[in-house]
């Protein structure tokens, strides 16, 4: 519980501090896979960013978005990991070497690494990211 509220403050601060960013519609809810991930490509100018979006309908936040790049395995694979919980953390386990990344804080539970977390929401059957 405490973890998710920290994450929420973190998220709202990001939104406040980035007036240039906006909510971008990625896909429909029917494109999501229950208890699993899909990947979105965000193109901003020449920059490309891959975002892994997970749908866990039985958890409080239901939808989570993090960087798709696994900094330990050094490949764009995180959306293909298995999701679940470790203690109170909602996590994805990297499909390459199985480290857990917390989906609300981006922290790796086994190493001093972390990944970006993106605000995500569902509005009118639309899946949106704040990027």
């Amino acid at each position: 519980m405490s973890n998710s509220s920290i994450a929420e403050t973190h998220v709202s601060e990001t939104i406040m501090a980035n007036p240039t960013k906006h909510w971008l519609t990625i896909c429909k809810t029917s494109d999501l896979v229950k208890d699993s991930g899909i990947c979105a490509l965000i193109e901003q100018g020449l920059e490309e960013k891959q975002v892994a979006i997970f749908h866990l309908p039985n958890t409080e936040k239901k939808i989570y978005a993090v960087d798709n790049y696994d900094p330990i395995g050094e490949a764009n694979v995180l959306y293909r990991g298995i999701v679940g919980s470790i203690g109170d953390n909602i996590v994805v386990s990297s499909p390459l070497y199985k480290q857990h990344y917390c989906l609300t804080t981006g922290k790796c539970l086994q190493a001093e690494k972390s990944i970006d977390v993106f605000p995500a929401r569902i509005i009118d059957e639309q899946v949106q990211l704040f990027v």
Binding site: V33, E43, E74, V77, G81, I82, S85, P95
Partner: protein, 860 residues
């Protein structure tokens, strides 16, 4: 300084001659006892070329164990214990006045205490011709190497001597593929341990297994043979042709050292010892098979261990004495169970016997009781030793017999009086090899042992002959239960169950999805441990398509994408090539597909072809082409059957005796797709040359001229293990039946990611137990296991085929939900004319010789 110097001077020198099982046990005991005060210096002199090994399990050398597996110690361990040692160091001289010994090479070692643990040697009767080539004995690893070499150039083998060791040797010869005979001088087999009735039945059973038994035969000479290398001529003028002769006509103590140096010997050999195991020279001890106590030589390892312990204690000044030992034995000879307890021949005055014989079933049981019918004196069991443990306990602990003692051996028409662990007194001997009593087990649990394995490690119980495993488990489990000890075997934080328990829950409660299981038996949201385990269990029990919506999120990425993820996030493509047999046309298709999609191509260690570097979005079109050409998924990604490796076999090979390729293909097709705790590999070889390396596989099959030998639970990989010989000369049908049952039993009871090798190593009762479950159906389970397997075989589907016809499933094979661009971080460079993933540096400097992307663009 001066005090440590004193210590050195005062050190007591203990020299041990012989490093057999008993000599080693002595070293271990003394090293432990003297660990606290370093005042003892131990030197071991061994005549053999290696340090102590497990002679009791010597025969397993022929079923795959290596010298290393049999080793009881190694150089490092002795060094850690500060024990000096020499191998190839036969002692030839003792100077009892100067107190030193001299080895063959002339080295001299001074002693304060000398231990003779020289064991015994096989007795070879003085038959003319006994020294010719291919006349061998069965005692050391070197002997076994000689037997193997001789068997390679022989067809028929004879064992002279039908005692316990002779029958074991006969078993070995059969396993080596020889037509085997046993020649016994006495009118019956195993005359020392069992009575005439038992001997008769044992002979029948052994002959039914294809070994010919010739009793009441005295060999008078070994001559050149006519059809074989040699001819044995018997005193009754009959003859027997053979290529190899193995003498197993009893053992003789190695007492020659004692003989030359005037230590007291028994009339028929053996170094006389007292209750402290001292010889007639108080500074010289004798232990093990060279020692004669109370005019008796103990030819078993357990009494030797007791002597070793007594001698070690005596040397450091602790009270101890050897007071004899029980000679009861239980063993399995060529699959025939034999047990002998106490006074098997009813020699005690006034003793009474009860006998039960069931000839059709091949069972013989006899108990010998005291004249007042209250105490057990001895027993003989042939064909079924399930009552051995309790009968032995009745005898050893003088427990009062039930009113009708015969109920102990009669087939249960009602409740059989059972002797539970609770009924045993605290002093009951549970493991005679290591002298472990019920009390010792309880105190090990008091001191914190909380699994059977802990108890084994603490007490060493069940690490000798292994015969006490079931009783040990019974006693320990009863004790655990009475303390409410819960053994933690949870697979992860979400389920307080082992894989095996989850398997039972899923099958019994007919659970079909992970969500149901989590809601009813788990907590939290699951993880990468419990989800794939559940996915695998659901697949084994219900055999649903693994990418069915409800199961999708449970699968590891390899199962989700039906390919193995590589380091850069691409996948490999491995079509099934059953048995390694492939037509030229199909081979061409593999080449064409690899070329079209620019995939790195390699022949795998599993006799098939792996195509690497496919992006997720390329997987469906690649597989479509493969399936159109008649390929199927190879399950290289699954915890499931991988490959059945074959050799070319009798179809082409001049040595082959069965069609190994045909068998491999049919087995691969039968078990493909079966989900299991871990991957499963098979090998099928067409003859004993074993070109398919079947003994390193989970299931290994080697052709014989009569059928197939089945080896199980082998492993290559991280910790290689040779398979155990499970059954011999099986016909096709029985072979498949056994494999069905073994695999299904593994699927039900294996732990997560436990290969069959580790599963076997952790199984209570080991190979014997599994043979009972599968061959003798002791759990009444095989029908069920066969049905379960049949259901899986019948519902096989090629997962790639199903996926390609399911648009919903295909949606997963897009890199991005909102774009059709490829992942720009996947970059290849060329090496040896094929692609490979670019390294981080290569990506950074963008010195990209030939990226796959540009190549595809060019082609387009």
């Amino acid at each position: 300084m001066s005090s440590s110097l004193e210590n050195i001077i005062k050190k007591q020198k203990v020299v041990v001659v012989g490093n057999g099982m008993v000599g080693h046990h002595f070293v271990e005991q003394l090293a432990q006892l003297s660990a606290a005060n370093q005042a003892i210096e131990i030197t071991v002199l061994s005549a053999e070329s290696r340090l102590a090994y497990d002679r009791v399990h010597l025969s397993e050398y022929f079923s795959g164990k290596t010298a290393e597996d049999l080793a009881m110690t190694d150089e490092k361990t002795y060094q850690d214990w500060n024990v000096s040692f020499q191998t190839n160091a036969k002692v030839v001289d003792i100077d009892r006045v100067e107190k030193n010994v001299v080895t063959e090479s002339g080295q001299v070692f001074a002693y304060d205490k000398l231990i003779l643990a020289t064991g015994s040697y096989p007795f070879v009767p003085p038959i003319p011709g006994k020294d010719r080539d291919h006349c061998l004995v069965y005692r050391t690893i070197d002997d076994l190497d000689d037997i193997q070499a001789s068997a390679n150039v022989s067809k028929v083998g004879v064992v002279i001597g039908g005692g316990l060791l002779g029958l074991e040797a006969a078993n070995a010869l059969t396993a080596l593929g020889l037509k085997t005979h046993v020649v016994e001088f006495a009118p019956q087999l195993m005359g020392v341990q069992i009575d005439a009735g038992g001997g008769r039945l044992l002979k029948e059973k052994i002959e039914a297994l294809g070994v010919q038994v010739h009793t009441s035969k005295a060999t008078s000479v070994i001559e050149d043979g006519e059809t074989c290398r040699y001819k044995l001529c018997f005193s009754d003028n009959t003859v027997l042709e053979t290529d190899l002769i193995l003498f197993s006509a009893g053992i003789r103590p190695y007492d020659n050292l004692a003989k030359s140096f005037d230590l007291e010997l028994g009339e028929r050999g053996g170094i006389v010892i007292n209750n402290q195991c001292q010889t007639s020279d108080e500074n010289i001890y004798a232990i093990g098979e060279c020692a004669l106590w109370n005019n008796f030589i103990f030819g078993l390892v357990a009494p030797g261990y007791s002597m070793a312990k007594v001698a070690a204690k005596d040397i450091i000044g602790e009270q101890a004495s050897f007071t004899g030992a029980d000679m009861s034995t239980k063993l399995k000879l060529m699959g025939v169970e034999v047990g002998s307890i106490g006074d098997a021949h009813a020699k005690t005055a006034g003793s009474l016997t009860y006998t039960y014989e069931n000839q059709p079933e091949g069972v013989y049981k006899k108990i010998v009781v005291s004249s007042d019918k209250t105490k057990m004196l001895g027993a003989v069991l042939i064909g079924d030793t399930s009552e051995y443990d309790s009968l032995l306990q009745y005898m050893l602990n003088a427990i009062d017999l039930p009113e009708s003692p015969e109920t102990l051996i009669l087939p249960s028409s009602g409740e059989k009086p059972s002797l539970g662990a609770d009924a045993l007194p605290a002093t009951a001997m549970i493991c005679s090899c290591h002298n472990v009593t019920k009390d010792d087990i309880i105190s090990s649990i008091d001191q914190g042992a909380c699994t059977i394995n802990d108890v084994k490690t603490c007490t060493k119980a069940s690490t000798g002959c292994g015969g006490c495993a079931a009783l040990l488990k019974n006693v320990a489990d009863t004790e655990f239960a009475s303390r409410g000890v819960e053994v933690k075997k949870d697979i992860c934080e979400h389920f307080a169950y082992s894989r095996r328990e989850l398997f039972d829950i899923v099958s019994v409660e007919k659970i079909k999805t992970f969500d149901e299981l989590l809601a009813s038996h788990g907590k939290g949201h699951g993880c990468e441990v419990c989800k794939p385990v559940t996915g695998s269990i659901l697949a084994s029990v219900w055999n649903d398509y693994i990418l069915k919506k409800a199961h999708l999120s449970l699968q590891d990425t390899n199962d989700t994408y039906l390919g193995n993820m590589q380091k850069d996030g691409t996948y490999s493509v491995v079509p099934r090539v059953a048995g390694g047999e492939i037509t030229p046309d199909k081979l061409i298709v593999l080449g064409q597909v690899a070329k079209k999609y620019n995939l790195y191509t390699k022949i795998t260690g599993g006799q098939r072809v792996d195509l690497f570097g496919a992006r997720v979005e390329e997987l469906p079109p690649i597989w479509q082409e493969l399936i159109d050409a008649g390929f199927e998924t190879g399950h290289a990604y699954g915890k499931s059957l991988r490959t059945v490796k074959s050799c070319v076999g009798s179809t082409w090979c001049r040595f082959g005796v069965q069609d190994s390729v045909g068998m491999a293909i049919s087995l691969e097709n039968r078990y493909k797709g079966l989900r299991a705790p871990h991957k499963i590999k098979f090998g099928v070889s067409g003859c004993t040359r074993e070109c398919a390396e079947a003994q390193s596989k989970d299931i290994g099959i080697i052709a014989t001229d009569k059928g197939w030998n089945l080896y199980i639970c082998g492993n290559g990989g991280m910790k290689p293990r040779h398979g155990d010989l499970f059954a011999i000369d099986l016909d096709d049908e029985t072979l498949v039946k056994y494999i069905d049952c073994i695999l299904m039993f593994y699927v039900r009871t294996g732990d997560r990611l436990q290969r069959t090798s580790v599963w076997m190593d952790n199984m209570e009762g080991g190979l014997d137990y599994l043979q009972q479950v599968i061959i003798e159906d002791s759990l009444n389970l095989t029908d069920h296991l066969e049905q379960q397997m049949a259901a899986i075989v019948d519902t096989y589907q090629c997962e790639w085929k199903t996926t390609l016809s399911d648009p919903e499933a295909l949606k997963r094979f897009k890199p991005f939900v909102n774009s059709s661009k490829p992942d720009s971080n996947i970059i290849f460079v060329q090496e040896r004319e094929q692609i490979r993933p670019a390294t981080k540096d290569e990506k950074a400097t963008k010195v990209l010789l030939d990226t796959k992307i540009s190549q595809i663009a060019e082609e387009a």
